[in-house]
């Protein structure tokens, strides 16, 4: 290659790279700003208003940097490029702690955080001592395994000591009758892209709980489709390009006539809230998501039996399946309500009380109050 050819080659190469770089810069400068990241389910940082004091404090620079990163053009695609490079290029086993095995995205719960599990157990015990000890309530508890329980060991991922988790909980909260449910589930009973279980697959698990609590077995439930393309929380967090999946729900006359009163906002709604399907987290379709206290009235059950469920988000899709045997079900999420206030909403005297928590929450129980 002579000097002239080399010079032309250099100029063309420079032009190509500057074109790409310059285009990206122009898009950064002029593309309309985005409010939300659907994948990450969060608000995106916005460019700050300039002021002398914010510049001098350094807060302008900090906020600008955040906004420049958050508002990068085609953010979701760009995040996917990173995820794909991590998994298929660098052959990393997970992206941001989320791995892909047998077509399912799952979160690595390793290592077992014993202090967190102890904390969760103590919180349950404290609730018992405060509201349930000395009453005629029947207290039950069950641990919902996360997807890793069925996936991690077989696929070479690190597995927390689930047995130890169970032992700690049983020791911390001995007053409850512990109902094992892990054998009623398998990986197919969970969404591929979300952390949660699929309601339409939970009949066996619900029957196990109902059986232990003296309820009637489920019958006459019809499966309906709520959503054609559900992209769960792990799809957004990992940014791996995965297909959406249909979301189904179970219903019948009993469930359709139930009314749910949400103490937090004073609204009375149905068991399933269709509006949520187009919201940030479509899983909130079930029982309107995780709310502080929800009271379900079942007009078709005249036994007068009541159930109180202390739960996390997994409970949203399970509780509707337990409703049929009870006249009233009170659902409490102590992440969003101070346990000291429970007595203002429900008088605990002779109800069935179920503590239903997932391993995901037990291992990260700091949010439990």
């Amino acid at each position: 290659m002579n000097k002239k050819e080399a010079s032309i080659k250099n100029r063309i190469q420079i032009l190509i790279i500057l074109l790409v770089w310059g285009m990206l810069a122009l898009l950064c400068w002029f593309l309309p700003r985005q409010e939300l990241s659907e994948g990450e389910r969060r608000k995106l940082a916005q460019f700050p208003t300039i002021s002398w004091s914010s510049i001098m404090k350094g807060s302008y620079a900090e906020k600008f940097e955040e906004a420049a990163t958050d508002q990068f053009p085609m953010r979701e695609t760009v995040r996917s490029i990173r995820a794909v490079t991590d998994i298929y290029g660098f052959r990393k086993k997970d992206v941001h702690g989320i791995y892909l095995a047998e077509g399912y995205l799952a979160e690595s719960l390793y290592p077992l955080r014993e202090s967190s599990v102890h904390n969760a157990g103590e919180k349950c015990e404290s609730l018992y001592q405060e509201w349930l000890a000395g009453t005629d309530t029947s207290v039950y508890a069950a641990i919902i395994p996360d997807k890793g329980y069925y996936l991690s060991e077989e696929n070479g991922y690190l597995t927390p000591d689930y047995e130890q988790m169970k032992t700690i909980m049983e020791e911390e909260f001995p007053e409850a009758e512990w109902i094992p449910i892990e054998d009623t589930l398998s990986i197919e009973d969970y969404y591929a892209t979300d952390s949660h279980w699929r309601q339409e697959q939970l009949e066996e698990t619900a029957n196990r709980l109902l059986d232990a609590m003296g309820g009637e077995a489920l019958q006459g439930l019809e499966q309906k489709q709520a959503l054609e393309e559900f992209h769960g929380v792990y799809a957004g967090q990992s940014a791996l390009p995965v297909r959406g999946e249909p979301m189904y729900y179970l219903t019948n006359d009993v469930l359709e006539q139930c009314q749910v009163h949400h103490v937090e906002n004073g609204k009375t709604l149905g068991i399933y809230e269709e509006e949520k399907l187009t919201g940030r987290d479509p899983y909130e379709f079930f029982l309107s998501g995780s709310t502080a206290i929800a009271m379900i009235e079942n007009p078709q059950c005249t036994t007068g039996r009541e159930l109180v469920v202390f739960r996390d988000s997994f409970g949203s899709s399970m509780v509707p399946l337990l409703v049929q045997s009870y006249s009233r079900v009170t659902v409490i999420d102590t992440r969003y309500v101070n346990p000291e206030l429970i007595g203002d909403y429900v008088e605990l005297e002779n109800q069935d009380v179920l503590f239903l928590y997932s391993t995901l929450l037990l291992n990260n129980s700091e949010t439990m109050r």
């Binding site: 790279i17 620079a61 990068f72 760009v78 490029i81």
Partner: protein, 470 residues
Amino acid sequence: MVFASITFLYWFLPLVLLVYFLIPKGWRNGWLLIASLCFYGWSQPRLLGVLVISILIGYGAGLGLEVCQKKSKKKWKTVLLWTAIVLEAGSLVYFKYVDFFIENINRVTGLDIPLLRVILPVGISFYTFQIISYLADVYWEREKPQHNLIDFAMYICLFTQLVAGPIVRYREIAGQLKGRTSKAEDIKTGIRRIIFGLSKKVLLADLLGEFCETVQGFQEPTVLGLWLAAIAFTLQLYFDFSGYSDMAIGLGRILGFQFPENFQYPYAATSITDFWRRWHISLTQWFRDYIYIPLGGNRCKPWKWIRNILLVWLLTGFWHGAEWNFILWGLYFGIILIIEKLVKDRKKKQGNSTLGHVYVMLIVIIGFVLFKETDISELGQQLGGMLGLGGLVAVNQETWYYLQSYGILFLIGIIGCIPVGKWLVGKIEQQELGTKVLAVAEPVVWILLLLLSTAYLVDGSYHPFLYFRF
């Protein structure tokens, strides 16, 4: 502002270059000065004053030295030099070391002098050394002082190398401050260096850093885990710092400057003496030229030579940080260099190069454990753990898992440390077909690396360069 950020890559840099190439040549230094001050003051605007005062002292002292020279006032010239050095170095000592000294005085005397908790101005170690070398060169009449304040200020605080080097001597770019051109070849080389530097930092250093953090969080540390973390940190530090240097050199090249190389495949060295000729070259040469040689270098009695080496390496260590581990780290290399020199003098024959590589890497990896761990008791535990002391198991499932997860990254890192790629490109360039293939492949690879690095920046968090703390 850091190079490895969206703000720098897609906001600051395009704007600076656009204006730079559009305005008349005579305005360019002024524009670069403004841009550099914005770059520096971006997140620490209050500390701009420290930089400006240092520049003014350096500028004034340079002119003063010239006046003394012309009037043959040698004594005043020396006084002026030392006054300026004391002021410049004093600022460095105050901002970087004052709390270290107070802590140690309190420890030894039992006093309770409160710490000042002074905020360290970014890059102070680098620009202070640039100013001191400028003053020394003017004093020794190796260079004439810069009369134009804008040109001088631009030399000191040019954003390309202001915060993490390389330490550019005034005499290396004095001519380029006035007249420089950016040819297509320079721009192409500059772009290539920037993208490769960015990729080293974002795709390798940051991910290796992630591995180190993961290992530190192991429930049960293992001997293999500690070794892997030490190797990962050794690789991380190289890619982090050499990546920054690549970007600095590349940016300089686009602007028409020829900055000195700062790294020459240090992990391919066959002795520690060789290693220090390849690692952070601008700093090593600075200490050689402005401390070691003025002290007498090796042309003196053996004990003085040993003193000189130990002093230089103690200062080199201390330059890196106000912690005892950095002093230990400097002395560690000083002692090894003395031993190497003594052994080499006895044994004239060249040693086995494979053994040399293994020896260098072992010394360097252990050296960087000293470098990383600022807590001396933790340091003892870590080194003990690496030697199998302290009852650690050799390996466990967690270690294997992360070795598998980061295995490819380690492999790329190790290959990237040695000049295999350079050799391969050289071979391809020798073929006519190879040259044509490279002409097409090169921009494709650059774009791919730029997009990948951007993706990791967008999906990551904050990526400060390790050498910013110096």
